[in-house]
Protein backbone atom coordinates (compact mmCIF):
# COMPACT_ATOMS: atom_id res chain seq x y z
CA UNK A 1 0.00 0.00 0.00
CA UNK A 2 2.79 2.33 0.92
CA UNK A 3 4.49 1.57 -2.35
CA UNK A 4 1.41 2.66 -4.24
CA UNK A 5 1.34 6.05 -2.56
CA UNK A 6 5.07 6.58 -2.96
CA UNK A 7 5.08 5.72 -6.63
CA UNK A 8 1.89 7.70 -7.05
CA UNK A 9 3.66 10.76 -5.70
CA UNK A 10 6.50 10.33 -8.17
CA UNK A 11 4.07 9.83 -11.02
CA UNK A 12 2.05 12.81 -9.81
CA UNK A 13 5.16 14.97 -9.86
CA UNK A 14 5.77 14.02 -13.46
CA UNK A 15 2.15 14.68 -14.30
CA UNK A 16 2.41 18.19 -12.90
CA UNK A 17 4.92 18.78 -15.65
CA UNK A 18 2.50 17.46 -18.24
CA UNK A 19 -0.19 19.62 -16.66
CA UNK A 20 1.91 22.72 -17.01
CA UNK A 21 2.60 22.16 -20.67
CA UNK A 22 -0.84 20.94 -21.67
CA UNK A 23 -3.09 23.07 -19.50
CA UNK A 24 -1.27 26.14 -18.39
CA UNK A 25 0.75 26.87 -21.51
CA UNK A 26 -1.53 24.91 -23.82
CA UNK A 27 1.09 23.18 -25.92
CA UNK A 28 1.30 19.49 -26.71
CA UNK A 29 4.83 18.77 -25.55
CA UNK A 30 6.15 15.36 -26.51
CA UNK A 31 9.62 16.04 -25.16
CA UNK A 32 8.40 14.52 -21.91
CA UNK A 33 9.22 10.97 -22.94
CA UNK A 34 12.85 11.84 -23.38
CA UNK A 35 13.13 14.24 -20.47
CA UNK A 36 11.98 11.66 -17.97
CA UNK A 37 14.73 9.29 -19.00
CA UNK A 38 17.19 12.19 -19.10
CA UNK A 39 16.40 13.03 -15.50
CA UNK A 40 16.91 9.44 -14.44
CA UNK A 41 20.07 8.86 -16.47
CA UNK A 42 21.79 12.06 -15.44
CA UNK A 43 20.86 11.69 -11.79
CA UNK A 44 22.17 8.14 -11.52
CA UNK A 45 25.30 8.94 -13.46
CA UNK A 46 26.15 11.98 -11.36
CA UNK A 47 25.37 10.05 -8.24
CA UNK A 48 27.75 7.28 -9.22
CA UNK A 49 30.42 9.85 -10.04
CA UNK A 50 30.39 11.16 -6.51
CA UNK A 51 27.85 13.95 -6.26
CA UNK A 52 25.28 13.57 -3.55
CA UNK A 53 21.64 12.89 -4.26
CA UNK A 54 20.15 16.39 -3.84
CA UNK A 55 22.74 17.96 -6.11
CA UNK A 56 22.29 15.24 -8.73
CA UNK A 57 18.55 15.80 -8.64
CA UNK A 58 18.97 19.52 -8.97
CA UNK A 59 21.27 19.16 -11.97
CA UNK A 60 18.95 16.73 -13.68
CA UNK A 61 16.10 19.18 -13.07
CA UNK A 62 18.10 21.89 -14.81
CA UNK A 63 18.94 19.55 -17.67
CA UNK A 64 15.27 18.80 -18.12
CA UNK A 65 14.48 22.49 -18.19
CA UNK A 66 17.14 22.86 -20.84
CA UNK A 67 15.53 20.18 -22.97
CA UNK A 68 12.19 21.95 -22.71
CA UNK A 69 13.81 25.23 -23.64
CA UNK A 70 15.35 23.58 -26.67
CA UNK A 71 11.94 22.38 -27.80
CA UNK A 72 10.54 25.86 -27.33
CA UNK A 73 13.45 27.31 -29.27
CA UNK A 74 12.94 24.93 -32.19
CA UNK A 75 9.27 25.77 -32.19
CA UNK A 76 9.53 29.52 -31.98
CA UNK A 77 12.71 30.37 -33.80
CA UNK A 78 12.78 27.68 -36.45
CA UNK A 79 9.00 27.70 -36.76
CA UNK A 80 8.81 23.94 -36.29
CA UNK A 81 5.40 22.71 -35.27
CA UNK A 82 5.39 22.14 -31.54
CA UNK A 83 4.55 18.46 -31.78
CA UNK A 84 7.38 17.83 -34.18
CA UNK A 85 9.78 19.90 -32.14
CA UNK A 86 8.98 17.78 -29.12
CA UNK A 87 9.53 14.58 -31.05
CA UNK A 88 12.82 15.83 -32.41
CA UNK A 89 14.18 16.69 -29.00
CA UNK A 90 12.89 13.43 -27.58
CA UNK A 91 14.77 11.54 -30.29
CA UNK A 92 17.92 13.53 -29.60
CA UNK A 93 17.61 12.69 -25.94
CA UNK A 94 17.54 8.97 -26.64
CA UNK A 95 21.07 9.03 -27.99
CA UNK A 96 22.18 11.52 -25.37
CA UNK A 97 20.87 9.30 -22.61
CA UNK A 98 22.68 6.31 -24.02
CA UNK A 99 25.85 8.34 -23.89
CA UNK A 100 25.25 9.51 -20.37
CA UNK A 101 24.74 5.99 -19.11
CA UNK A 102 27.25 4.43 -21.51
CA UNK A 103 24.68 1.78 -22.32
CA UNK A 104 20.96 1.27 -22.22
CA UNK A 105 20.74 1.15 -18.46
CA UNK A 106 22.72 2.09 -15.42
CA UNK A 107 22.08 0.50 -12.07
CA UNK A 108 23.02 2.22 -8.86
CA UNK A 109 25.75 0.02 -7.46
CA UNK A 110 25.22 -1.33 -4.01
CA UNK A 111 28.82 -1.99 -3.15
CA UNK A 112 31.67 0.42 -3.06
CA UNK A 113 33.95 -1.82 -5.04
CA UNK A 114 33.28 -3.72 -8.22
CA UNK A 115 33.20 -7.35 -7.26
CA UNK A 116 32.73 -10.34 -9.44
CA UNK A 117 32.16 -14.04 -9.11
CA UNK A 118 35.25 -14.90 -11.11
CA UNK A 119 35.53 -17.05 -14.20
CA UNK A 120 34.07 -20.54 -14.36
CA UNK A 121 37.47 -22.10 -14.01
CA UNK A 122 38.18 -20.03 -10.92
CA UNK A 123 34.97 -21.00 -9.20
CA UNK A 124 34.11 -24.50 -10.39
CA UNK A 125 37.50 -25.92 -11.16
CA UNK A 126 38.70 -27.60 -14.30
CA UNK A 127 36.35 -28.00 -17.18
CA UNK A 128 35.51 -31.59 -18.21
CA UNK A 129 36.62 -30.97 -21.77
CA UNK A 130 39.94 -29.44 -20.76
CA UNK A 131 41.90 -32.46 -21.88
CA UNK A 132 41.06 -31.82 -25.53
CA UNK A 133 43.08 -28.68 -25.67
CA UNK A 134 46.69 -27.74 -25.58
CA UNK A 135 47.59 -26.09 -22.34
CA UNK A 136 47.87 -22.33 -22.61
CA UNK A 137 49.87 -20.01 -20.44
CA UNK A 138 47.58 -18.14 -18.10
CA UNK A 139 47.88 -14.46 -18.50
CA UNK A 140 47.61 -12.13 -15.57
CA UNK A 141 44.11 -10.70 -15.68
CA UNK A 142 44.30 -7.13 -16.94
CA UNK A 143 44.30 -4.80 -13.99
CA UNK A 144 40.75 -3.62 -14.13
CA UNK A 145 40.26 -0.30 -12.47
CA UNK A 146 38.19 -1.02 -9.44
CA UNK A 147 35.58 1.62 -9.98
CA UNK A 148 35.22 3.61 -6.84
CA UNK A 149 31.45 3.73 -6.90
CA UNK A 150 29.74 5.73 -4.35
CA UNK A 151 28.46 3.40 -1.75
CA UNK A 152 24.82 3.35 -2.40
CA UNK A 153 23.56 5.24 0.60
CA UNK A 154 20.14 4.49 -0.49
CA UNK A 155 18.00 7.44 0.24
CA UNK A 156 14.88 5.60 -0.69
CA UNK A 157 15.30 1.92 -0.27
CA UNK A 158 16.26 0.32 2.95
CA UNK A 159 15.09 3.07 5.22
CA UNK A 160 12.18 2.62 7.55
CA UNK A 161 8.95 2.43 5.64
CA UNK A 162 7.41 5.69 6.72
CA UNK A 163 10.52 7.72 5.98
CA UNK A 164 10.40 7.30 2.22
CA UNK A 165 6.85 8.50 2.14
CA UNK A 166 7.62 11.52 4.28
CA UNK A 167 10.58 12.47 2.16
CA UNK A 168 8.67 12.12 -1.08
CA UNK A 169 5.69 14.02 0.26
CA UNK A 170 7.96 16.79 1.41
CA UNK A 171 9.63 17.09 -1.98
CA UNK A 172 6.34 17.09 -3.82
CA UNK A 173 4.70 19.60 -1.54
CA UNK A 174 7.66 21.97 -1.73
CA UNK A 175 7.61 21.84 -5.51
CA UNK A 176 3.90 22.45 -5.60
CA UNK A 177 4.17 25.33 -3.17
CA UNK A 178 7.01 26.99 -5.05
CA UNK A 179 5.23 26.67 -8.35
CA UNK A 180 2.01 27.95 -6.85
CA UNK A 181 3.83 30.99 -5.56
CA UNK A 182 5.41 31.52 -8.92
CA UNK A 183 2.09 31.38 -10.68
CA UNK A 184 0.83 34.05 -8.37
CA UNK A 185 3.53 36.49 -9.42
CA UNK A 186 3.25 38.87 -12.31
CA UNK A 187 5.33 36.64 -14.55
CA UNK A 188 3.41 33.56 -13.56
CA UNK A 189 0.08 35.22 -14.17
CA UNK A 190 1.32 36.30 -17.57
CA UNK A 191 2.33 32.70 -18.26
CA UNK A 192 -1.18 31.55 -17.47
CA UNK A 193 -2.54 34.26 -19.70
CA UNK A 194 -0.24 33.10 -22.46
CA UNK A 195 -1.89 29.73 -22.34
CA UNK A 196 -5.33 31.15 -22.98
CA UNK A 197 -4.43 33.88 -25.42
CA UNK A 198 -0.91 33.66 -26.84
CA UNK A 199 -1.12 36.58 -29.22
CA UNK A 200 -2.86 38.75 -26.69
CA UNK A 201 0.15 38.79 -24.46
CA UNK A 202 2.17 40.52 -27.12
CA UNK A 203 0.07 43.62 -26.67
CA UNK A 204 1.44 43.81 -23.19
CA UNK A 205 5.02 43.59 -24.15
CA UNK A 206 5.77 39.94 -23.52
CA UNK A 207 7.15 38.10 -26.51
CA UNK A 208 5.71 34.71 -27.27
CA UNK A 209 9.16 33.19 -27.34
CA UNK A 210 9.94 34.09 -23.76
CA UNK A 211 6.67 32.64 -22.55
CA UNK A 212 7.08 29.46 -24.57
CA UNK A 213 10.58 28.86 -23.27
CA UNK A 214 9.49 29.57 -19.74
CA UNK A 215 6.45 27.31 -19.91
CA UNK A 216 8.14 24.37 -21.60
CA UNK A 217 11.24 24.72 -19.47
CA UNK A 218 9.24 24.66 -16.27
CA UNK A 219 7.15 21.69 -17.41
CA UNK A 220 10.15 19.59 -18.39
CA UNK A 221 11.97 20.53 -15.20
CA UNK A 222 9.22 18.80 -13.26
CA UNK A 223 9.39 15.77 -15.51
CA UNK A 224 13.12 15.31 -15.25
CA UNK A 225 13.07 15.84 -11.48
CA UNK A 226 10.49 13.12 -11.29
CA UNK A 227 12.64 10.89 -13.49
CA UNK A 228 15.62 11.41 -11.23
CA UNK A 229 13.65 10.59 -8.11
CA UNK A 230 12.23 7.53 -9.81
CA UNK A 231 15.69 6.28 -10.72
CA UNK A 232 16.97 6.74 -7.18
CA UNK A 233 13.87 5.07 -5.85
CA UNK A 234 14.03 2.01 -8.08
CA UNK A 235 17.80 1.66 -8.11
CA UNK A 236 18.48 2.06 -11.80
CA UNK A 237 17.94 4.23 -14.82
CA UNK A 238 16.99 2.86 -18.19
CA UNK A 239 16.87 4.51 -21.58
CA UNK A 240 13.31 3.34 -22.19
CA UNK A 241 11.95 4.46 -18.85
CA UNK A 242 10.25 7.47 -20.35
CA UNK A 243 8.42 5.62 -23.09
CA UNK A 244 4.75 6.46 -23.08
CA UNK A 245 5.06 8.83 -20.17
CA UNK A 246 3.16 11.56 -21.98
CA UNK A 247 0.10 9.36 -22.29
CA UNK A 248 0.36 8.20 -18.71
CA UNK A 249 0.80 11.79 -17.60
CA UNK A 250 -2.27 12.92 -19.50
CA UNK A 251 -4.32 10.11 -18.01
CA UNK A 252 -3.17 11.10 -14.54
CA UNK A 253 -4.03 14.75 -15.15
CA UNK A 254 -7.50 13.76 -16.29
CA UNK A 255 -7.96 11.40 -13.36
CA UNK A 256 -7.01 14.18 -11.00
CA UNK A 257 -9.49 16.58 -12.54
CA UNK A 258 -12.31 14.08 -12.37
CA UNK A 259 -11.72 12.93 -8.85
CA UNK A 260 -10.45 16.01 -7.14
CA UNK A 261 -13.26 18.28 -6.14
CA UNK A 262 -11.19 21.36 -5.47
CA UNK A 263 -9.85 21.40 -8.96
CA UNK A 264 -8.73 24.94 -8.72
CA UNK A 265 -6.50 24.47 -5.72
CA UNK A 266 -3.11 25.99 -6.39
CA UNK A 267 -4.13 26.70 -9.95
CA UNK A 268 -4.91 23.06 -10.54
CA UNK A 269 -1.40 21.81 -9.84
CA UNK A 270 -2.45 19.78 -6.84
CA UNK A 271 -4.92 17.57 -8.69
CA UNK A 272 -2.38 15.47 -10.67
CA UNK A 273 -0.80 14.28 -7.42
CA UNK A 274 -4.00 12.66 -6.33
CA UNK A 275 -4.48 11.39 -9.83
CA UNK A 276 -1.06 9.77 -9.72
CA UNK A 277 -1.79 7.91 -6.53
CA UNK A 278 -5.13 6.70 -7.83
CA UNK A 279 -3.53 5.63 -11.10
CA UNK A 280 -0.96 3.52 -9.27
CA UNK A 281 -3.72 2.03 -7.20
CA UNK A 282 -5.69 1.08 -10.27
CA UNK A 283 -2.55 -0.34 -11.87
CA UNK A 284 -1.91 -2.56 -8.85
CA UNK A 285 -5.47 -3.77 -8.74
CA UNK A 286 -5.68 -4.41 -12.46
CA UNK A 287 -2.49 -6.42 -12.46
CA UNK A 288 -3.54 -8.34 -9.41
CA UNK A 289 -6.89 -9.47 -10.79
CA UNK A 290 -6.22 -9.13 -14.46
CA UNK A 291 -3.92 -12.11 -14.52
CA UNK A 292 -6.95 -14.37 -14.33
CA UNK A 293 -8.15 -13.09 -17.67
CA UNK A 294 -4.74 -13.18 -19.21
CA UNK A 295 -3.94 -9.55 -18.61
CA UNK A 296 -0.25 -8.70 -18.76
CA UNK A 297 1.75 -5.87 -17.34
CA UNK A 298 2.43 -4.65 -20.86
CA UNK A 299 -1.28 -4.26 -21.59
CA UNK A 300 -1.48 -1.32 -19.23
CA UNK A 301 -0.54 1.14 -21.96
CA UNK A 302 -3.54 0.11 -24.03
CA UNK A 303 -5.82 0.57 -21.05
CA UNK A 304 -4.38 3.99 -20.28
CA UNK A 305 -4.92 5.21 -23.81
CA UNK A 306 -8.46 3.85 -23.87
CA UNK A 307 -9.11 5.62 -20.61
CA UNK A 308 -8.10 8.94 -22.13
CA UNK A 309 -10.36 8.33 -25.12
CA UNK A 310 -13.23 7.48 -22.78
CA UNK A 311 -12.73 10.63 -20.71
CA UNK A 312 -12.68 12.87 -23.75
CA UNK A 313 -15.75 11.18 -25.18
CA UNK A 314 -17.55 11.43 -21.89
CA UNK A 315 -16.63 15.06 -21.59
CA UNK A 316 -18.11 15.78 -24.99
CA UNK A 317 -21.39 14.23 -23.97
CA UNK A 318 -21.36 16.27 -20.79
CA UNK A 319 -20.90 19.57 -22.56
CA UNK A 320 -23.76 18.76 -24.84
CA UNK A 321 -25.90 18.42 -21.76
CA UNK A 322 -24.69 21.43 -19.90
CA UNK A 323 -23.81 24.35 -22.08
CA UNK A 324 -22.14 26.49 -19.56
CA UNK A 325 -20.97 24.50 -16.62
CA UNK A 326 -18.05 23.31 -14.64
CA UNK A 327 -17.37 20.48 -17.02
CA UNK A 328 -15.06 22.14 -19.46
CA UNK A 329 -13.32 18.93 -20.35
CA UNK A 330 -14.26 18.87 -23.99
CA UNK A 331 -13.21 22.41 -24.65
CA UNK A 332 -9.97 21.74 -22.91
CA UNK A 333 -9.17 18.51 -24.64
CA UNK A 334 -11.07 18.73 -27.87
CA UNK A 335 -10.20 22.12 -29.08
CA UNK A 336 -7.59 23.47 -26.83
CA UNK A 337 -4.84 20.94 -26.82
CA UNK A 338 -2.00 21.68 -29.09
CA UNK A 339 -3.20 25.07 -30.06
CA UNK A 340 -0.22 27.12 -31.00
Amino acid sequence: MLGIVEQGLILGLMSIGVFISFRIVNMADLTVDGTFALGGALCVRLFSLGLNAPVSLLLSLLAGAGAGILTGFLHRKLKINVLLAGILVMTMLYSINLRIMNGPNLPIPKTSVSASLGTFEQVAGKDPLADLFEPSAPVAAPQKEIAKHRTFENIFLGTADGQDLLLLSAIVLICVALTGLFLRTELGTALRGFGTNPSGLESFGLPKTLMTLLGLGLANAFVSLSGGIFALYSGFADVTMGQGMIVTGLAVVMLGEILFVRRKLVYGIFAPILGGIVYQGILAVVMRYGYRIGFRASDMKLLTALFIVAVIGFGLIQTKKRMKGKFRLSTIFGGGVGRD
Binding site: F182, R184, T185, E186, L187, G188, T189, A190, R192, G193, G195, T196, N197, S199, G200, L201, E202, S203, F204, G205, L206, P207, L210, K324
Partner: protein, 260 residues
Protein backbone atom coordinates in the same frame (compact mmCIF):
# COMPACT_ATOMS: atom_id res chain seq x y z
CA UNK B 1 -0.70 71.06 -24.46
CA UNK B 2 1.19 71.62 -27.58
CA UNK B 3 0.54 70.09 -30.87
CA UNK B 4 2.72 67.32 -31.95
CA UNK B 5 2.57 64.34 -34.19
CA UNK B 6 2.07 61.14 -32.34
CA UNK B 7 2.18 59.08 -35.47
CA UNK B 8 3.85 60.01 -38.68
CA UNK B 9 4.08 57.96 -41.80
CA UNK B 10 6.62 59.28 -44.23
CA UNK B 11 6.11 58.06 -47.75
CA UNK B 12 5.29 54.58 -46.62
CA UNK B 13 4.55 51.90 -49.13
CA UNK B 14 3.86 48.29 -48.42
CA UNK B 15 4.26 45.82 -51.21
CA UNK B 16 3.35 42.20 -50.78
CA UNK B 17 5.32 39.59 -52.65
CA UNK B 18 7.60 42.13 -54.20
CA UNK B 19 9.24 41.01 -57.39
CA UNK B 20 6.96 38.06 -57.83
CA UNK B 21 4.11 37.65 -60.21
CA UNK B 22 1.26 38.52 -57.92
CA UNK B 23 2.87 41.57 -56.49
CA UNK B 24 0.38 43.68 -54.67
CA UNK B 25 0.88 47.19 -53.43
CA UNK B 26 -1.25 47.45 -50.34
CA UNK B 27 -0.27 50.94 -49.33
CA UNK B 28 0.92 53.48 -51.77
CA UNK B 29 3.15 56.30 -50.70
CA UNK B 30 1.20 57.11 -47.61
CA UNK B 31 2.33 60.23 -45.91
CA UNK B 32 0.24 61.17 -42.95
CA UNK B 33 0.32 62.59 -39.50
CA UNK B 34 -1.83 61.98 -36.52
CA UNK B 35 -1.58 64.33 -33.62
CA UNK B 36 -2.22 63.97 -29.95
CA UNK B 37 -5.88 63.77 -29.13
CA UNK B 38 -7.08 62.85 -32.58
CA UNK B 39 -9.85 60.38 -33.05
CA UNK B 40 -9.30 59.01 -36.53
CA UNK B 41 -11.91 56.91 -38.24
CA UNK B 42 -10.77 54.81 -41.16
CA UNK B 43 -13.25 53.38 -43.61
CA UNK B 44 -12.90 51.68 -46.90
CA UNK B 45 -13.75 48.59 -48.90
CA UNK B 46 -12.24 45.25 -48.06
CA UNK B 47 -8.77 44.66 -49.27
CA UNK B 48 -8.13 48.35 -49.67
CA UNK B 49 -5.32 48.41 -47.22
CA UNK B 50 -6.90 49.18 -43.86
CA UNK B 51 -5.53 46.15 -42.14
CA UNK B 52 -2.18 46.72 -43.73
CA UNK B 53 -2.07 50.21 -42.32
CA UNK B 54 -2.94 48.82 -38.93
CA UNK B 55 -0.19 46.27 -39.17
CA UNK B 56 2.33 48.94 -40.01
CA UNK B 57 1.23 50.98 -37.02
CA UNK B 58 1.66 47.94 -34.82
CA UNK B 59 5.02 47.10 -36.33
CA UNK B 60 3.73 43.70 -37.32
CA UNK B 61 4.69 44.58 -40.83
CA UNK B 62 7.68 46.62 -41.84
CA UNK B 63 7.10 49.15 -44.61
CA UNK B 64 8.78 48.20 -47.84
CA UNK B 65 9.58 51.81 -48.45
CA UNK B 66 9.42 54.76 -46.13
CA UNK B 67 9.50 55.17 -42.38
CA UNK B 68 6.98 55.02 -39.61
CA UNK B 69 7.58 57.37 -36.73
CA UNK B 70 5.95 56.95 -33.41
CA UNK B 71 6.28 59.87 -31.06
CA UNK B 72 9.06 61.22 -33.16
CA UNK B 73 11.09 58.02 -33.10
CA UNK B 74 11.61 55.83 -36.09
CA UNK B 75 10.07 52.41 -35.60
CA UNK B 76 12.27 50.71 -38.07
CA UNK B 77 13.40 47.37 -36.72
CA UNK B 78 11.09 47.41 -33.76
CA UNK B 79 9.04 44.32 -32.94
CA UNK B 80 5.43 44.05 -31.89
CA UNK B 81 6.28 43.55 -28.26
CA UNK B 82 8.56 46.56 -28.17
CA UNK B 83 5.99 48.82 -29.75
CA UNK B 84 3.40 47.48 -27.33
CA UNK B 85 4.77 49.86 -24.77
CA UNK B 86 3.27 52.81 -26.57
CA UNK B 87 0.42 51.26 -28.45
CA UNK B 88 -2.76 49.66 -27.17
CA UNK B 89 -4.99 47.61 -29.36
CA UNK B 90 -8.39 46.01 -29.35
CA UNK B 91 -9.51 43.81 -32.17
CA UNK B 92 -12.73 42.35 -33.40
CA UNK B 93 -12.78 39.07 -31.52
CA UNK B 94 -13.74 39.75 -27.94
CA UNK B 95 -11.61 36.84 -26.83
CA UNK B 96 -8.47 38.21 -28.36
CA UNK B 97 -8.16 41.21 -26.14
CA UNK B 98 -8.56 39.51 -22.81
CA UNK B 99 -7.37 36.32 -21.19
CA UNK B 100 -10.48 34.19 -20.99
CA UNK B 101 -9.38 31.68 -18.39
CA UNK B 102 -8.17 34.20 -15.89
CA UNK B 103 -10.20 36.33 -13.55
CA UNK B 104 -10.86 40.01 -14.18
CA UNK B 105 -8.45 40.87 -11.44
CA UNK B 106 -5.71 38.85 -13.06
CA UNK B 107 -6.45 40.33 -16.44
CA UNK B 108 -6.07 43.82 -15.06
CA UNK B 109 -2.85 42.98 -13.31
CA UNK B 110 -1.33 41.64 -16.50
CA UNK B 111 -2.46 44.72 -18.35
CA UNK B 112 -1.15 47.13 -15.80
CA UNK B 113 2.40 46.58 -16.87
CA UNK B 114 3.97 46.71 -20.24
CA UNK B 115 7.12 44.81 -20.83
CA UNK B 116 9.04 42.18 -19.00
CA UNK B 117 8.06 41.51 -15.47
CA UNK B 118 9.62 39.56 -12.70
CA UNK B 119 8.66 37.90 -9.54
CA UNK B 120 6.65 40.42 -7.66
CA UNK B 121 3.29 39.12 -6.62
CA UNK B 122 0.56 40.23 -8.92
CA UNK B 123 -1.50 43.07 -7.78
CA UNK B 124 -4.23 45.14 -9.26
CA UNK B 125 -3.51 48.83 -9.12
CA UNK B 126 -6.31 51.01 -7.81
CA UNK B 127 -6.24 52.96 -11.03
CA UNK B 128 -7.32 49.91 -12.99
CA UNK B 129 -10.21 49.23 -10.69
CA UNK B 130 -11.39 52.82 -10.79
CA UNK B 131 -11.20 52.78 -14.57
CA UNK B 132 -13.31 49.67 -14.48
CA UNK B 133 -15.89 51.30 -12.29
CA UNK B 134 -16.14 54.13 -14.80
CA UNK B 135 -17.69 51.67 -17.16
CA UNK B 136 -20.68 51.46 -14.95
CA UNK B 137 -21.04 47.80 -15.77
CA UNK B 138 -20.60 46.67 -12.23
CA UNK B 139 -17.55 44.61 -13.14
CA UNK B 140 -15.50 46.01 -10.33
CA UNK B 141 -17.76 44.31 -7.85
CA UNK B 142 -16.91 40.79 -8.98
CA UNK B 143 -13.26 40.92 -9.73
CA UNK B 144 -12.91 37.18 -9.48
CA UNK B 145 -15.26 36.30 -12.28
CA UNK B 146 -13.64 34.42 -15.06
CA UNK B 147 -13.15 36.84 -17.91
CA UNK B 148 -14.34 34.34 -20.46
CA UNK B 149 -17.73 34.24 -18.79
CA UNK B 150 -18.50 37.87 -19.55
CA UNK B 151 -20.74 38.92 -22.41
CA UNK B 152 -19.19 40.10 -25.66
CA UNK B 153 -19.72 43.74 -24.90
CA UNK B 154 -18.30 43.40 -21.43
CA UNK B 155 -15.27 41.62 -22.80
CA UNK B 156 -14.56 44.36 -25.28
CA UNK B 157 -15.02 46.97 -22.61
CA UNK B 158 -12.60 45.12 -20.40
CA UNK B 159 -10.20 44.79 -23.30
CA UNK B 160 -10.32 48.52 -23.86
CA UNK B 161 -9.68 49.26 -20.22
CA UNK B 162 -6.77 46.87 -20.31
CA UNK B 163 -5.41 48.57 -23.36
CA UNK B 164 -5.38 51.99 -21.79
CA UNK B 165 -4.33 51.23 -18.22
CA UNK B 166 -0.68 51.77 -18.99
CA UNK B 167 -1.20 55.09 -20.74
CA UNK B 168 -0.40 54.22 -24.31
CA UNK B 169 0.28 56.96 -26.79
CA UNK B 170 -2.29 55.66 -29.18
CA UNK B 171 -5.13 53.18 -29.10
CA UNK B 172 -5.66 51.11 -32.24
CA UNK B 173 -9.07 49.64 -32.82
CA UNK B 174 -9.84 47.24 -35.65
CA UNK B 175 -13.58 46.87 -35.99
CA UNK B 176 -13.88 46.28 -32.32
CA UNK B 177 -17.65 46.58 -32.28
CA UNK B 178 -18.25 44.42 -35.32
CA UNK B 179 -19.17 41.27 -33.43
CA UNK B 180 -21.28 42.92 -30.77
CA UNK B 181 -25.00 43.44 -30.62
CA UNK B 182 -26.26 47.02 -31.31
CA UNK B 183 -26.75 47.94 -27.67
CA UNK B 184 -23.30 46.80 -26.63
CA UNK B 185 -21.77 48.43 -29.69
CA UNK B 186 -23.13 51.76 -28.67
CA UNK B 187 -21.87 51.32 -25.15
CA UNK B 188 -18.42 50.42 -26.34
CA UNK B 189 -18.35 53.35 -28.75
CA UNK B 190 -19.32 55.70 -25.98
CA UNK B 191 -16.48 54.27 -23.98
CA UNK B 192 -14.19 54.90 -26.90
CA UNK B 193 -15.31 58.49 -27.09
CA UNK B 194 -14.84 58.85 -23.38
CA UNK B 195 -11.34 57.49 -23.63
CA UNK B 196 -10.51 59.97 -26.32
CA UNK B 197 -12.19 63.04 -24.88
CA UNK B 198 -11.68 62.53 -21.20
CA UNK B 199 -8.29 60.96 -21.14
CA UNK B 200 -6.95 62.54 -24.26
CA UNK B 201 -5.72 59.30 -25.76
CA UNK B 202 -5.26 59.29 -29.48
CA UNK B 203 -7.54 56.77 -31.14
CA UNK B 204 -7.30 55.24 -34.58
CA UNK B 205 -10.32 53.18 -35.44
CA UNK B 206 -11.20 51.04 -38.42
CA UNK B 207 -14.86 50.43 -38.91
CA UNK B 208 -17.43 49.31 -41.43
CA UNK B 209 -20.25 50.80 -39.48
CA UNK B 210 -21.15 53.98 -41.35
CA UNK B 211 -23.45 55.52 -38.75
CA UNK B 212 -20.64 55.25 -36.20
CA UNK B 213 -18.24 56.65 -38.72
CA UNK B 214 -20.39 59.72 -39.01
CA UNK B 215 -21.11 60.12 -35.34
CA UNK B 216 -17.67 59.74 -33.91
CA UNK B 217 -14.21 60.94 -34.61
CA UNK B 218 -12.73 64.24 -35.54
CA UNK B 219 -10.93 63.00 -38.64
CA UNK B 220 -12.30 60.69 -41.26
CA UNK B 221 -10.09 58.82 -43.64
CA UNK B 222 -10.97 56.65 -46.52
CA UNK B 223 -8.59 54.11 -47.93
CA UNK B 224 -9.12 52.99 -51.47
CA UNK B 225 -6.67 50.80 -53.30
CA UNK B 226 -3.88 51.61 -50.95
CA UNK B 227 -4.31 55.34 -51.01
CA UNK B 228 -5.43 57.38 -48.05
CA UNK B 229 -7.90 60.22 -48.43
CA UNK B 230 -8.98 62.45 -45.64
CA UNK B 231 -12.54 63.49 -46.29
CA UNK B 232 -13.39 65.25 -43.11
CA UNK B 233 -11.49 67.14 -40.56
CA UNK B 234 -12.40 68.78 -37.32
CA UNK B 235 -10.15 69.80 -34.51
CA UNK B 236 -9.79 67.22 -31.80
CA UNK B 237 -12.09 67.72 -28.92
CA UNK B 238 -9.54 67.83 -26.13
CA UNK B 239 -7.41 70.37 -27.80
CA UNK B 240 -8.06 73.98 -28.42
CA UNK B 241 -5.99 75.43 -31.14
CA UNK B 242 -6.00 78.60 -33.01
CA UNK B 243 -4.03 77.28 -35.80
CA UNK B 244 -5.15 74.51 -38.06
CA UNK B 245 -1.96 72.89 -39.28
CA UNK B 246 -3.59 70.51 -41.59
CA UNK B 247 -5.24 71.01 -44.91
CA UNK B 248 -8.89 70.39 -45.13
CA UNK B 249 -11.46 68.17 -46.65
CA UNK B 250 -12.30 67.29 -50.17
CA UNK B 251 -10.21 66.09 -52.97
CA UNK B 252 -6.97 66.87 -51.40
CA UNK B 253 -5.32 63.53 -51.18
CA UNK B 254 -2.68 63.82 -48.66
CA UNK B 255 -2.24 65.28 -45.29
CA UNK B 256 0.57 67.68 -45.99
CA UNK B 257 3.54 66.56 -44.01
CA UNK B 258 4.61 69.02 -41.44
CA UNK B 259 7.46 67.90 -39.30
CA UNK B 260 6.95 69.17 -35.82
Amino acid sequence: MGVWAVIKLSDVSVVYRKGEENEKCALKNATLQISQGDFVIIVGPNGAGKSTLMKVLLCELAPTVGTYYLNGKSMRGFSVTQVARWVGRVFQDPNSGIFPDLSILENLSIASKKGVRWLRFRSCPQKAVSLLSLLGLGLEKNLNTRAGDLSGGQKQALAMIMAIISDPKVLLLDEHTASLDPKSSVKVMELTRQINEQFGITVVMITHNMPFAEQYGNRKWKIEEGEVYEYEYRPPVCLTRSENPFPLVGDQRRCAPKCV
